[in-house]
């Protein structure tokens, strides 16, 4: 209710603003286009989750020095720390990197941005990446219309960048009217009070001009004209450094909580760095003079001295903040918390147990692969229960299984996204690690490795089948046709029962219970298979469902059967303890398919009609 009222107020205020001010309209349009660019960029990067880009990013940012180096290099090439911050927010939102790596990149970007000051000051050179905005937009849209996922992804990234620049352009145009209000000479003065005033002006000017480089040019001009003192110019540069975070803050508005946290980290870093620079301004000035003398910069060459100052204070900022990165992450996670519903939407899960150090020890390697597969199983279990819209807490309890079937479909998850974040990476790493282990391990363990690889594949198949099933589950569980609705609820309830048994298999240590539950589940999936038990025929014969519904039900029944089958096959491999009596019996006691069929045939009263 409160949200609806707020939305109405915002719409009214915007409408009034557009009516009274053309500049306001332009700024708002700029922000809107910019945010649209962010969404497009995030969609583009999502196409690359679990793929080459993720691997490259992960490898280039897995250590702090690497992520800082990555940020430095990227900013030096692109000559825009804002753009690098925006891209980092997109990486984070798409689940390609973690917050700590993102912070490292932002720190690096702050050092990388100092090269811009050198280029402007030393060579009068200004790299203008925004000149490519329009071509990016055109190429981006062409790529979006292509069939291949990766080309589409590139298309979204290019279009996203194009829209970002276009948005910035509109914001700049809109702020043009405010630019004339920045009269630096009017604020002339010295002392700590003026330091803060000029820092504030620096922030304002950068927000207005949407570029710290543009502010730098303004500072140099004012300094050369004698409008401001050298000390005030430094304060303006500090302000420009803080003001530049506005782009990331606007960008984070459209991103998820992880992106917002990074924007928060960016702001905290630049504010802290700015405060350090203001407090130690005199010491910094002495350092600038010392370095300038050392490299041969003339005493009155304030332009280059400004570049030296910019570099020194950003370096100091990074050096001071590096030891606090973990605390910063903890702080941001504590105060910028996820809503329960967002938790699963943003977390990227990586391997917990795999470690190349154990490759030389066969038994340990095997144990590690099993543990990692169990970890993947936990994720798959979550995704399947949520994908089927089942209440997990009920599925894993002893409460009647009917109660696990939820009727609220507003919280349905995106299985593709969950798969990319919680399965794909781990699966890839398990297969990679198992293949490495195979070369070092003695032949007696090889079969076991193959078995575990198969268990992994079964899990992946079960998740993918759930994805296929989900669409119609949402559609038909809410259908007005009671017959089809009932069948889809039955499919979910039966799968909930299988999931409950699988969960017991995962947690129990009792050998006999394992045998019994595997048999029970095998019988269960056969017994409730709609195609073979005749229910589907009855529904069609009596015209209780349409042809389209019948086709969907037939396909989905196959998917449901496959989910159950894959989960059982996985459990047979994964949940029988390698040291148990059952393992010694080499699964001879497990009920095989022909035995299941025999048992079902014998029971004439097994029909569920």
């Amino acid at each position: 209710m409160l949200q609806k009222v707020l939305l109405s107020i915002v719409l009214i205020v915007l409408g009034y603003g557009f009516w009274v001010s053309a500049d306001f309209k332009e700024i708002s349009a700029g922000v809107a286009i910019f945010l649209f660019g962010m969404i497009s960029l995030e969609n583009g990067f999502k196409a690359f989750t679990g793929g080459t880009l993720e691997n490259i990013l992960r490898k280039s940012t897995d250590k702090l020095y690497k992520s800082i180096g990555f940020g430095m290099l990227a900013t030096t090439i692109m000559q825009s720390s804002s753009l690098v911050s925006i891209l980092t927010i997109s990486f984070l939102s798409a689940g390609l990197i973690g917050l700590a790596q993102g912070i490292g990149i932002v720190f690096g970007a702050n050092i990388g941005t100092t090269t811009g000051a050198w280029l402007v000051a030393g060579f009068g050179l200004k790299v203008n990446i925004s000149a490519y905005a329009m071509p990016m937009l055109v190429f981006g849209v062409i790529f979006i219309f292509q069939k291949f996922k990766s080309l589409k992804g590139i298309g979204y990234i290019l279009a996203g960048l194009g829209f970002l620049f276009l948005g910035i352009h509109f914001m700049k145009e809109g702020f043009e009217a405010f630019k004339s209000t920045i009269d630096l000479a009017a604020f002339g003065g010295t002392g700590i009070k003026y330091l803060f005033i000029f820092t504030g002006i620096g922030i304002f000017a950068t927000v207005v001009m949407q570029s710290s480089h543009a502010t730098l040019v303004l500072i140099i001009t004012a300094l050369a004209a004698g409008q401001i003192s050298y000390e005030n110019a430094l304060a303006l540069a500090i302000g420009a450094n803080v003001g530049t975070t506005i782009t990331a803050i606007i960008g984070a508005m459209s991103s998820n909580i992880v992106g917002k946290r990074l924007a928060g980290a960016h702001l905290i870093f630049n504010v802290v760095t700015g405060l350090i620079a203001i407090i130690f301004i005199h010491q910094l000035m002495i350092s600038v003079d010392f370095v300038s003398n050392f490299v041969g910069i003339a005493t009155d060459d304030y332009t280059l001295k400004l570049a030296v100052f910019h570099t020194i204070f950003n370096f100091i900022g990074v050096v001071v903040m590096i030891p606090f990165i973990n605390q910063l992450v903890i702080f941001l996670e504590k105060y910028m918390t996820l809503k329960e519903s967002e938790k699963d939407e943003t977390t990227i899960d990586t391997v917990k147990y795999l470690n190349d150090a154990v490759l030389e020890i066969p038994e340990t390697s095997l144990a590690v692969i099993i543990s990692e597969t169990k970890h993947m199983y936990e994720n798959a279990f979550d995704i399947i229960t949520q994908g089927l819209n089942l209440e997990k807490s009920v599925v894993v309890s002893t409460v009647p299984i009917e109660q696990s079937v939820c009727t609220d479909f507003t919280k349905s998850i995106n299985i593709d996204d969950s798969y990319n974040r919680r399965i794909k990476g781990i699966y890839g790493d398990i297969i990679d690690f198992s293949t490495k282990v195979q070369f070092n391990i003695s032949p007696e363990y090889i079969d076991e490795i193959y078995d575990i690889k198969r268990a992994n594949r079964y899990l992946v198949e079960a998740v993918k089948d759930t994805k296929h099933l989900q669409k119609n589950i949402i559609k038909y569980s809410q259908s007005t046709n009671k017959h089809i609705q009932e069948e889809y609820i039955k499919i979910r309830r039966n799968l909930a029962e299988i999931l409950r048994d699988i969960n017991i298999l995962y947690t129990t240590k009792e050998d006999d219970l394992i045998i019994l539950l595997i048999s029970k589940s095998k019988i269960h999936i056969e017994k409730y298979d709609l195609i073979s038990n005749g229910i589907l025929d009855d529904l069609i014969r009596n015209a209780l469902i349409t042809n389209q519904m019948a086709t969907s039900l037939m396909n989905d029944s196959t998917y449901a059967y496959s989910i159950g089958k894959n989960l059982i096959l996985m459990a047979e491999i994964l949940f029988i303890d390698t040291t148990s009596d059952l393992k010694t019996m080499q699964k001879e006691s497990i009920m095989n398919q022909s035995e299941v069929e025999q048992l079902l045939e014998k029971e004439s009263n097994y029909g569920i009609k």
Partner: protein, 82 residues
């Protein structure tokens, strides 16, 4: 007898003993599981006698069928080992 022959004899004896030990272990495992299954059967039978609700009764009966099947299968496996 040459040294190589002696080593071969020792290896064969050890391998035979190891196979024998494995077989013995396997038999013990099967025996163990059979015991547990029988215990579980008793438990289910007891629950059935306590007049459960209709739904519970159906479930217990299905459990019993599966348990009986596995007891039979395990006994067969055990007899093959003797």
């Amino acid at each position: 007898m040459g040294l190589s022959k002696l080593i071969e004899n020792i290896t064969n004896t050890l391998s035979f003993e190891s196979k024998d030990l494995k077989k013995q272990n396997k038999k013990e495992s099967v025996d163990n599981i059979l015991g547990k299954l029988k215990k579980r059967k008793k438990k289910v039978l007891k629950s059935l006698k306590e007049k459960p609700k209709k739904n519970e009764k159906k479930e217990l009966e299905e459990q019993l069928k599966i348990i009986k099947f596995h007891i039979k299968k395990t006994e067969k496996l055990l007899s093959k080992m003797d």
